[in-house]
Every structure is written in structure tokens, then in C-alpha cells.
């Protein structure tokens, strides 16, 4: 889908090459993450793909076509671009920002309106609440979402995303990442994604390109980058705790156990007691008839509380993760709520099971022994 051949860029007045003989191929529907330290040429590479910046040497093919022979305006209309500094248009409402490319493509008004609302919902904003506002009225994280919606607007087959989650806090970032991955599963776009955070690269990428001073050091799947880093530079970038990093690669639904300690709302006290004794986390999850997680009952609750049925005994769920969260996300939530487990729900909020600290540790251990 995208092929870079000997791509080279030298900025006037710089003796070093910003991008140095880069060869890279990204398949259709793949997420390729460019990772590397600041100034290694990630942004420059992206800008050459949509021709915001002309290469000094080398070729770029999109769908087999040499981009230098294409009309740059046409090329850009079909490549969604999320720029590093967000760059929302301050004088346009959120709706108008998102509608930019559809308007350039002269879509009919009704279609644009529908699409805008749909996209804002997709990135988790309320079209009625946020659509009419100006960018200055949104938080950094919300602006970043609008930037992504804007790039997606005309449904481009290719997306260039330059550190799209840089402006948000850690928790929001991990939520946005998960939403992004869920979207990508539906939309199946060809994506080049820039980050300088190796954890993000491992989590997001189908393949990771490690760059250093404009040169490609390694181009591999995340697992390979972790298990066989090419040289000290990549090894240092990945860091020493590679086994823990692997937690980024595994998603909750992949290792959910059958046994999930769920009980219906009308379970009698005695039975709950038994189940708690059996449960390795000494807790049961209370599930309603539709399958939603309603509450939890721990050992303390059953000893102190009156009542005969599960629904009278249960306490509020401290937090949960979705089934496409990585084990790393699950671990952070466990640490945050201070428990050895976390309930897992699916995209619709239905209860799927429970992840425990022990399962996570087993994963890390099995990884170590496998090596």
C-alpha cells in the first residue's frame, strides 16, 4: 500500500540528513509505528508521504503509484493527517473543523452533517454539546479527539498520525489507544503512526520501525522487537523490563479464564459464602439477568452486612477494564484500586470475566522461561 524507497531528506543549511535512505513497506490495513528519539526524522518522513515536504532523493509509492507524479492536492485529500500540534482551525466550530475535507470534496450538505455527528460520537464527543463550540472551548484531550475525527472525515484509506495522543494524561491516553484499536479493527485503514513512546509503539503497532538519526534500525513485529532487538540502540529503547512490556501485547480477552466467579442477583447467602471460599480472589461478581455486572461481594461484606440475597449484600464495583484492554492497562487499574483482580466487560458493558494478578504474573513468567 505504501512503499518508501531510499527516501532521503536533507534540509538546506543542515549537514546531517534528516531522513537517510529509508526503505519501508506498509501493507494494506496495517498499522506501522515509527518510533525513535526526538529529531530522528519521524515527522519529516510523514510529511514526505503527503508531500508537505519534498524528498531530496528516493521514491514514495502509494498503491503502486509514484506520488511525485500525482497531484499533491488529490493525494492529500485521500490521506488523513493528524498533525503533532493538533492544529485545529481556531475560527471554525468543531463541526466545521471536522467537515473540512468533505467540504473540499464537495459532499452534499446533509451527508456532511450526518458524517460530522457520526464522527464526533465515534471519538467519544457529544455532537450536540461540543459540535457548535470553538476549539478554544475544549480541553487538550478533546481537541486531540477532534483532530482525529477531522482526519477520518472523508474516510481516507490511509492515515498519517503524528503523536496523536501526546497532549493527554496517561489514563486518557490508554483509553484513547484502546478506542483507536477498536476503531481500526472496524475501519481497517493503512496507518502510519508516530510516537516516541516505546510502550505506545508496542501496543499500537502491527509492525514497528525504529529510527535513529534518519536511519531505519529495525523493522519488525512488536514481539520480535522485544525478543530480538537489533543491537544496543533498540535494546536500550525497549528497556530492561521487556517481559513486563510484553503485557502490552496481550489483550484481556485472550487470557480470560472460564472461571469468573459470577453469581446471579438472587443467589442466597449460603451459596455466596461457599463461592467466596472457593474463589482465589475471595470475591464474587454479581451479574443481572441481562449479563451486566451489578456489584461485588467480598469476604468482609458478607460478614458485616445483613440480608439474604446477593443484591442486598453487594457493594459498588471499584473499576473495570474492557476486554480489548492490554494486560498492562489491567495491571494499572489493579494497582490503582488496590486489589488483586479487575472485572472485564465487553464493548457493550456485558460482564466477561475477571483478570487476576496471578494470571498476569504467570504470563510474565512463562515469557521468561520461554527464552
Amino acid at each position: 500500500m505504501i512503499r518508501l524507497e531510499n527516501l532521503t531528506k536533507q534540509f538546506p543549511g543542515m549537514d546531517r540528513l534528516a531522513v537517510n535512505k529509508l526503505n519501508l513497506e506498509v501493507g494494506k490495513g496495517e498499522v506501522c509505528v515509527l518510533v525513535g528519539p526526538s529529531g530522528c526524522g519521524k515527522t519529516t518522513t510523514m510529511k514526505m508521504i503527503n508531500r508537505l515536504c519534498e524528498p531530496t532523493d528516493g521514491k514514495i509509492y502509494v498503491d503502486g503509484q509514484d506520488t511525485s507524479k500525482m497531484n499533491p492536492i488529490k493525494l492529500r485529500l485521500d490521506i488523513g493527517y493528524v498533525i503533532q500540534q493538533i492544529g485545529l482551525f481556531p475560527h471554525m466550530t468543531i463541526n466545521d473543523n471536522v467537515a473540512t475535507v468533505p467540504k473540499e470534496k464537495k459532499w452534499p450538505k446533509e451527508k456532511i452533517k450526518k458524517r460530522t455527528a457520526e464522527l464526533l460520537e465515534l471519538v467519544g464527543l457529544d455532537p450536540r454539546e461540543h459540535g457548535g463550540r470553538y476549539p478554544s472551548g475544549l480541553s487538550g484531550g478533546q481537541q486531540q479527539r477532534v483532530g482525529i475525527a477531522r482526519a477520518l472525515a472523508a474516510d481516507p484509506p490511509i492515515m498519517l498520525m503524528d503523536e496523536p495522543f501526546a497532549a493527554v494524561d496517561r489514563i486518557t491516553r490508554s483509553r484513547l489507544q484502546n478506542e483507536f484499536l477498536r476503531l481500526q479493527r472496524e475501519l481497517n485503514k493503512t496507518i502510519i503512526f508516530v510516537t516516541h513512546d516505546i510502550d505506545e509503539a508496542i501496543k499500537m503497532g502491527d509492525r514497528i520501525a525504529v529510527l535513529r538519526e534518519g536511519k531505519l534500525i529495525q523493522y519488525d513485529e512488536p514481539g520480535k522487537i522485544l525478543s530480538e532487538p537489533a543491537g544496543d540502540f533498540v535494546a536500550n529503547l525497549v528497556g530492561r523490563n521487556r517481559s513486563i512490556k510484553r503485557l502490552h501485547l496481550i489483550r484481556a480477552h485472550e487470557i480470560l479464564e472460564e472461571e469468573h466467579w459470577g453469581v446471579p442477583l438472587d443467589t442466597p447467602r449460603e451459596e455466596i459464602k461457599e463461592r467466596i471460599e472457593e474463589s482465589v480472589i475471595s470475591t464474587v461478581m454479581v451479574i443481572d439477568e441481562k449479563g451486566y455486572l451489578k456489584g461485588i461481594i467480598g469476604r468482609r461484606a458478607i460478614e458485616e452486612k445483613e440480608g439474604e440475597k446477593a443484591e442486598d449484600l453487594m457493594e459498588e464495583v471499584p473499576d473495570n477494564v474492557t476486554d480489548d484492554a492490554t494486560l498492562n492497562d489491567a495491571l494499572s487499574v489493579m494497582l490503582e484500586i488496590g486489589e488483586g483482580y479487575v472485572p472485564v466487560v465487553d464493548a457493550d458493558g456485558l460482564f466477561r470475566g475477571t483478570l487476576t494478578l496471578n494470571t498476569l504474573l504467570d504470563q510474565v513468567r512463562s515469557d521468561k522461561s520461554a527464552k
Binding site: 492529500r76 485521500d78 482551525f89 481556531p90
Partner: protein, 240 residues
């Protein structure tokens, strides 16, 4: 909506009303026969007409030149030329208006056209400077994302850069018009007529009422134009 228009109109109506009041009062109650001979409705109206003609012709000309040239200088290929011209303009703006008029007089002679030409040139400066500064103030990432989304250079200019620079450009026009109206009252010294005539004649024949009429009318005109453009400026910026 109607309410807003009414609110917008209160001050202009008040100012115009004051102007008309002053004119009627001085024409109907002249202090002596000399004042009566000088201050007729015809004379006041024709002075006003001349004054307005001077201001509007030079302002329209200044906008027609200042904005496009400002835009041109803001294009990347003109970057260094733009910076140099910006400095020249800054120096030009510090030169006092009387000096400008005087210099043009020595080269072009007495008359209305000289005054219009000098006013035109003098008013270009703030408009050009603000157009250039306004466009340069658009954040580079905003322009980059517009380009990256596939807008043509012309669309980037008309949909992104100019609308964002608009308030600053209008502020430049506002500065220019205030300076212009003020300088136009000096045009009487180079024989161009206008409201300045009344002020200066009044001073030289020592008839305070004549001076007062010219001074009051030119002051009211300046305040009126400044108010109107200030309002336009405010109403444009809904987004910051």
C-alpha cells in the same frame, strides 16, 4: 436581532444628532455678521462633503492596495522582502502627518489631489502592516494541517489565513481611518479644503464659533467612524 441593531445604532444616531444640532445652532445663532456670512448651511455641507470625499477615496484606495500587498508579502517566497518592508513601514508610520503633508505639498503643489494622495499613502501603512502581521500570526501548525488535508494554497488563504487574520486587519483599518480623518483636517494647510478650513479660518479671523464648528464636526466624525469600525471588529471575533 432588531434589538442588537438598535443598540448598535444608538451611538451613531447620537453622534450624528449632535453634529446636526451644532450646525443648526451656529447657523441660526451667529455671534456677529462675519460669522453669519461664513457659517451657512451650504458652506458647512460642502466642507463636510469635501472632507468625506477625501477620507473615503484615500481609505478605499489604501485598503485596495494595503491588503493585497500585505497578503503578498506574507507568502513564504517574500519572507525577507516582507520583513524589510515591515521595518520601512514602521519608520514611515512614525513620521508625523504634518511633515508628510508638507513634503507632498513641496513636490505636488497645492490642492485636493495632493492631499488625497498623501492621505492614501499614509493610510496604507497601518493597513499593510496589520495585514502582514495578522497573517504571520496564524500558527504554522494550523496552516500545515490545512495544507495536509488537501486545501489548495488559494483555499488555505481564503478559508484559513484571512479569516483568522481578519480582526487584526480590521484593527489596522481602524487605526488608519482615525489617522486619516485627523490628517484630513490638516489638509486645509495645503489648500485641499474640508472641515479643517473652518478651524483654521476661525483661528485666523479670531471667530471662536467658526473654529468650534469645524473642530466639533471633525471630532464627531472621527469618533463616529472609529466607533463603527470598532463594532465591526468586535462582532467578527466570536471564536477567541
Amino acid at each position: 436581532m432588531l434589538n442588537r441593531i438598535l443598540k448598535f445604532l444608538i451611538v451613531p444616531i447620537l453622534l450624528v444628532g449632535m453634529g446636526i444640532g451644532v450646525v443648526i445652532y451656529v447657523v441660526e445663532n451667529p455671534t456677529d455678521s462675519m460669522v453669519a456670512r461664513m457659517l451657512t448651511y451650504d458652506f458647512i455641507i460642502s466642507s463636510m462633503e469635501k472632507h468625506l470625499l477625501m477620507v473615503f477615496v484615500s481609505m478605499l484606495g489604501a485598503i485596495a492596495v494595503g491588503v493585497p500587498v500585505g497578503i503578498m508579502l506574507s507568502r513564504p517566497s517574500f519572507y525577507y522582502v516582507g520583513k524589510v518592508i515591515e521595518n520601512v513601514v514602521n519608520v514611515g508610520q512614525t513620521v508625523p502627518s504634518l511633515a508628510i503633508l508638507a513634503l507632498f505639498f513641496t513636490f505636488l503643489g497645492l490642492g485636493f489631489n495632493t492631499a488625497v494622495f498623501a492621505l492614501w499613502l499614509y493610510s496604507i501603512l497601518p493597513i499593510l502592516r496589520n495585514t502582514f502581521a495578522g497573517i504571520m500570526s496564524v500558527q504554522p501548525e494550523v496552516v500545515e494541517s490545512a495544507k495536509g488535508m488537501g486545501m489548495s494554497p488559494w483555499r488555505v488563504l481564503s478559508k484559513i489565513e484571512l479569516p483568522i487574520a481578519y480582526p487584526i486587519i480590521i484593527a489596522g483599518i481602524r487605526t488608519a481611518i482615525v489617522i486619516n480623518v485627523g490628517t484630513a483636517t490638516l489638509a486645509t494647510f495645503i489648500g485641499a479644503g474640508g472641515l479643517g478650513d473652518m478651524i483654521v479660518t476661525g483661528i485666523s479671523v479670531r471667530r471662536e464659533m467658526v473654529t468650534f464648528t469645524g473642530a466639533a464636526l471633525s471630532a464627531l466624525l472621527a469618533i463616529l467612524l472609529d466607533y463603527i469600525i470598532g463594532r465591526i471588529e468586535k462582532n467578527l471575533v466570536r471564536w477567541s
